[in-house]
């Protein structure tokens, strides 16, 4: 009943910076506490990352700074190419396809039609000097909307849903608070009713009370939208509040994955134990 098929299967994602040498993989990773190869200096930003994302599911990725979380997200959003690995997309009534193999045109179409992303820094996701409504309109145009009246109506509706005062839709995000900017980004990300929503550190850098409101907003939206969501955060509190399952990353590797409550109550890997004991006490 709750969508028993994966929407997305990531398989062995790998991204390396630098030429690389034959020993890179053997000499980096969580066991060595580093992602840089001591022989050639290449950085293995992420390696062997595999997971399934189900319809309606919120999957968390938690890990310290530099562990490779954002790299995974950027590859899935085609902001960055994977060196290895597959991204199998399952669309109802069609054979699953590895979309990494698609042309850049096809990828752009897929992204415009099916994906939404919210970046940690609003300036990555928004044009700060054009109006909030304009930012959303731009997104809708890319997804194929044409009627100006409908676009404006939809933008207003989205801003209302993300609790941005609609009377401010003609102001540029530059004049908004951090929390509001994030809400505009969320409105924009949701505008095309994506099948896949990617959230990168959405609440990092916001005041605690603002953070709570944004998280709460995401939860409420999640309840009504049934979109498959990937939440990346270094903050276990965020992961706990939003995700039902999660992956723990360190030095470019997934060291542990499981039900979020299990990861929090019964962490297995030494790194996860450290993370949990320092975060939640």
């Amino acid at each position: 009943m709750s969508g028993k098929t994966p929407v997305l299967q990531a398989r062995n994602l790998m991204r390396r910076y630098g030429e690389g040498c034959p020993t890179c993989l053997a000499k980096t990773g969580a066991a060595y506490g580093r992602n840089m190869c001591p022989d050639c200096g290449a950085v293995l930003a992420c390696r062997d990352v595999s997971f399934d994302l189900y319809n309606r599911e919120v999957l968390g990725i938690v890990g310290e700074s530099g562990s490779g979380k954002s790299t995974v997200l950027k590859m899935l959003h085609f902001d960055m190419e994977a060196d290895e690995g597959e991204m199998m997309l399952h669309v109802e009534g069609q054979e699953p396809e590895n979309v990494f193999a698609w042309s850049s045109f096809q990828k752009r179409m897929l992204r415009n039609a099916q994906m939404g992303i919210v970046y940690q820094h609003p300036h990555l996701g928004l044009r700060m000097k054009i109006s909030a409504g304009g930012n959303i309109a731009e997104r809708l145009l890319m997804a194929g909307w044409r009627n100006v009246g409908q676009i404006r109506e939809r933008a207003a509706e989205l801003l209302e849903r993300t609790e941005v005062p609609v009377e401010r839709m003609d102001e540029p995000p530059a004049s908004f608070s951090g929390g509001m900017q994030q809400r505009v980004q969320i409105a924009k990300a949701l505008s095309n009713e994506p099948a896949l929503l990617l959230l990168d550190e959405v609440t990092t850098g916001l005041d605690v009370s603002v953070q709570a409101r944004v998280l709460d907003l995401i939860r409420r939206l999640q309840e009504n939208l049934h979109v498959a969501t990937l939440v990346v955060s270094h903050d276990l509190g965020v992961i706990r509040m939003l995700s039902t399952r999660c992956l723990v990353m360190k030095n470019g590797e997934v060291v542990e994955s499981g039900l979020t409550d299990q990861i929090l109550e019964d962490p297995q890997h030494p790194y996860t134990q450290l993370l949990v004991s320092s975060a939640l006490r």
């Binding site: 009943m1 028993k4 189900y54 939860r219 499981g258 039900l259 004991s277």
Partner: protein, 223 residues
């Protein structure tokens, strides 16, 4: 319906140089459909850990937890795929602890209605049922629309119970469900549990209070 076979749980604590702590020494028991079994043992014997292994908040170290699931057929919860565990939690298993994990800004009614909504019941209907349960558990009127974050321990526990019972789970795991409640609330909870039992739910429970334990349980298992 539930058969636990040589279940054990050890925690490996890496900050203590990989020291192993025995949380649950090997244990076996079973509960028939519609029956209630109470686990009884001195504090620290791993009663709560057993329930957590069954709910899969803990990963069992060894043994089997065989469940006759209505939607999945016979399964071993000790090995079951995460998504199947989530399905069982949503459709068949309820769990009550003393501790409430609340979602900020959601009202008590919304928190309690949530499991029903997830099962596809209409929001208005689910909230009406949530309100009925909360009233039945004597949650004061003004609190119904408030966030349980600021509730007292006993109030939070009643919200928890309402949330676990609202979907009328086939298998209910109860960890000291009445621990911080006053007499009257305890009686209300007992009524609700009896009602659920009468409609066929199976229960595995831990009661601190021996009198309540013997009132509720068909069988008691000394660990």
């Amino acid at each position: 319906m539930l058969q636990v076979d040589q279940l054990s749980k050890t925690f490996k604590v890496h900050s203590l140089g990989g020291k192993e702590i025995l949380g649950v020494p090997p244990c076996s028991f079973s509960v028939e459909e519609g029956k209630s079994l109470a686990l009884s043992a001195p504090s620290g014997r791993g009663k709560s850990s057993i329930l957590k292994c069954i709910y899969r908040s803990y990963l069992p170290s060894s043994g089997r937890i065989l469940l006759q699931s209505r939607s999945l057929g016979p399964v071993d919860l000790a090995q079951l795929d995460e998504h199947d565990v989530l399905t069982l939690r949503e459709e068949e298993m309820g769990y009550v602890t003393q501790f409430l994990r609340v979602i900020p800004r959601l009202s008590a009614i919304e928190v309690v209605a949530d499991p029903l909504c997830r099962r596809g019941v209409k929001r208005a209907e689910a909230e009406a049922e949530a309100e009925r349960l909360l009233r039945c558990l004597k949650i004061p009127e003004p609190l119904l629309e408030a966030s349980p974050i600021t509730f007292s321990g006993g109030e939070q526990q009643r919200v928890n119970i309402a949330r676990a019972l609202i979907a009328r789970p086939r298998l209910l795991l109860l960890d000291e469900p009445t621990a911080s409640l006053d007499r009257e609330s305890v009686e209300r909870v007992m009524d609700m549990l009896n009602d659920l039992k009468a409609s066929g739910s199976t229960m595995l429970m831990i009661f601190h209070d021996k009198e309540l334990m013997y009132r509720m349980a068909d069988e008691v298992m000394e660990l």
